[in-house]
């Protein structure tokens, strides 16, 4: 967290942070898959995986072993280099983007002075993986999936970026830890300081755009099985498929973490003081708070997935360009205006 003065020790701590945080994020993925399958079963009034281990808890392990031992097929006629590059290009940006997320009090893998912009930039690169994977597979369904992915991600990235800019304007910084500190106020009324309530429109746009960016239902058009078999990953097997799959879940975790940080107060809670020189206990508590919020948001993701039906592709593009981008521009304009005039544009609310 802080500089110790000796470069070697700093390097050691930086490496330790990177390993621990990245490993933790990767460990959430199998847990999330299990969680999602059980919840889906519960929502659909089924039982779900309950045979492997106590209440099916070892199911993710069994899935991983199965994927690792599957034959690694490379179909004929694929472009070998780009075919292999695809899954890596989905997975690597997703995990790299997590670098700047503060998982606890000033605790992140690396802190840049451009925090959020780094995340959006690197996170956006995963579109290349989807597009390249879809194109290289030499399969028309894969190609359509890749095309849909690139069009969809580009469209919703605009709305996502504009909603983030509105937050950066009110916060007057791009440092995520400062954004979190600004959302803190003591007592239950401190909840209203969260950007979710300060910038409700931006929060809504961000949430919807995040669903589209991570290809989750109701916006999972690049891989919708009813039309495109498996979309961009139709021709992938074994661990290459697993990398696509992991990349998607890591992207979902990263987006949720960004949402928690930007709109839900990050690692802070109004009832917990932020000390100026935190002890290990304070940091652990802040990590716990962050994880709690993250799990709630991930639950929301899964809940939506198994509740809403899929949009049609033209509907997706229409609401993206004709509703969300104008809305986010309107929000940006109102935020700028209220910044100049010094009042909150939600006039009836007294803050």
């Amino acid at each position: 967290m802080s500089d110790s003065g000796t470069p070697l020790l700093d390097f050691f701590f930086a490496a330790l942070r990177a390993i621990v945080i990245f490993a933790a994020v990767l460990q959430i993925v199998p847990a999330l898959v299990y969680f999602e399958r059980r919840l889906a079963a519960w929502i659909q009034d089924r039982i779900g995986p309950n045979q492997v281990g106590p209440v099916g808890l070892l199911q993710p392990l069994a899935d991983v072993i199965k994927l690792a031992f599957k034959e690694d097929l490379t179909p004929e006629g694929v472009d070998k280099w780009i075919y292999r590059l695809g899954p890596a290009l989905v997975y690597a940006p997703a995990i790299l983007a997590f670098t700047v997320i503060p998982v606890g009090m000033d605790l992140q893998v690396a802190s840049f002075d451009v925090g959020v912009i780094f995340l959006l930039t690197i996170g956006g690169f995963s579109v290349y993986g989807l597009a390249f994977g879809g194109w290289a597979s030499n399969n028309k369904y894969s190609l359509l999936g890749g095309l849909r992915a690139s069009a969809q991600l580009i469209s919703y990235e605009v709305a996502l970026g504009l909603s983030v800019i509105a937050i950066l304007m009110t916060a007057e910084t791009v440092d995520l830890n400062s954004i979190i500190r600004q959302q803190w106020a003591p007592g239950a009324a401190g909840l209203l300081e969260w950007n979710l309530f300060q910038q409700p429109l931006a929060a809504f746009i961000f949430l919807v755009a995040a669903f589209a960016e991570t290809n989750r239902l109701p916006f999972d058009l690049p891989e919708c099985e009813a039309e495109l078999v498996g979309g961009f990953h139709t021709e992938y097997t074994g661990l290459k498929f697993a990398m696509f799959f992991m990349g998607e879940y890591v992207a979902m975790i990263t987006m949720s973490a960004l949402m928690v940080t930007m709109f839900l107060g990050g690692w802070s809670l109004p009832w917990v003081e932020i000390p100026t020189s935190p002890s290990i206990g304070d940091v652990a508590l802040s990590v716990g708070i962050f994880m709690g919020k993250l799990v709630l948001l991930l639950f929301f993701y899964i809940w939506v997935r198994w509740t809403l039906p899929r949009f049609r592709y033209d509907q997706l593009m229409n609401i993206g360009w004709k509703v969300f981008i104008p809305l986010s521009l309107l929000n940006l304009g109102l935020t700028a205006l209220s910044g100049v005039l010094g009042w909150n544009w939600l006039i009836p609310l007294p803050w």
Partner: protein, 196 residues
């Protein structure tokens, strides 16, 4: 960053960017050209960051590599070129001509840069006065924004108007081809290519 490390990083970034630019023009398949162009943008962004222009570097990545190239790729994928369907490009004479032109441009630039007053000033000892200490905010968003909206405001606004003209023109062209009741998905895709 210490001196030799900076040189090493610059050397790697510069070499890879030159190599990938070369591959952009020599690859037969446009998908590979696009891929290497992205690599080149990333390397140039790295050089920006090496010069402490972190924000500019990330903007280079976000706008060129993250948005514009995705649209290029989108168009290339719509055409869906496969190696067997691509025509053979250029004979020996055409390649020699292209190499000649490139060498000429390279020679002109090298000559121009190495003979410019600025370089002469910088390479003679004591030619330029020692700089005051570079502020910590150098290259950060705040400094960048102040510079853009004070010194270069006019250029910035003119560029915005230029982009606006481009958008309106593109929308107009797209509208003419597709009357109100036309196929929605097509017009969406066109607007997508033009808007960003």
């Amino acid at each position: 960053m210490s001196g030799w490390l900076e040189h090493l990083v610059f050397g790697i970034l510069a070499t890879v960017s030159v190599l990938s630019s070369f591959l952009v023009v020599t690859r037969k398949n446009p998908i590979y050209s696009a891929l290497f162009l992205v690599v080149m943008f990333a390397m140039v962004a790295g050089i920006f960051m090496l010069l402490d222009a972190t924000f500019l570097g990330f903007m280079q990545l976000l706008v060129y590599a993250g948005a514009i190239m995705v649209l290029y790729l989108f168009v290339i994928m719509l055409i869906n070129p496969r190696d067997e369907t691509l025509p053979d490009e250029g004979g020996t004479s055409e390649k020699a001509f292209a190499a000649g032109v490139s060498l000429l441009v390279f020679a002109l630039l090298t000559f121009g840069i190495s003979n410019s007053d600025l370089v002469t000033e910088m390479t003679t000892p004591g030619g330029i006065p020692a700089l005051a200490e570079v502020p910590a905010t150098h290259g950060a968003i705040e400094a960048f924004g102040y510079e853009l909206f004070s010194k270069h405001l006019l250029v910035f606004e003119v560029a915005s108007i230029l982009i606006l003209v481009g958008i309106i023109g593109a929308v107009h062209i797209a509208m003419k081809q597709k009357p109100a009741s036309a196929d929605e998905e097509d017009s969406n895709e066109e607007r997508l290519v033009t808007d960003v």
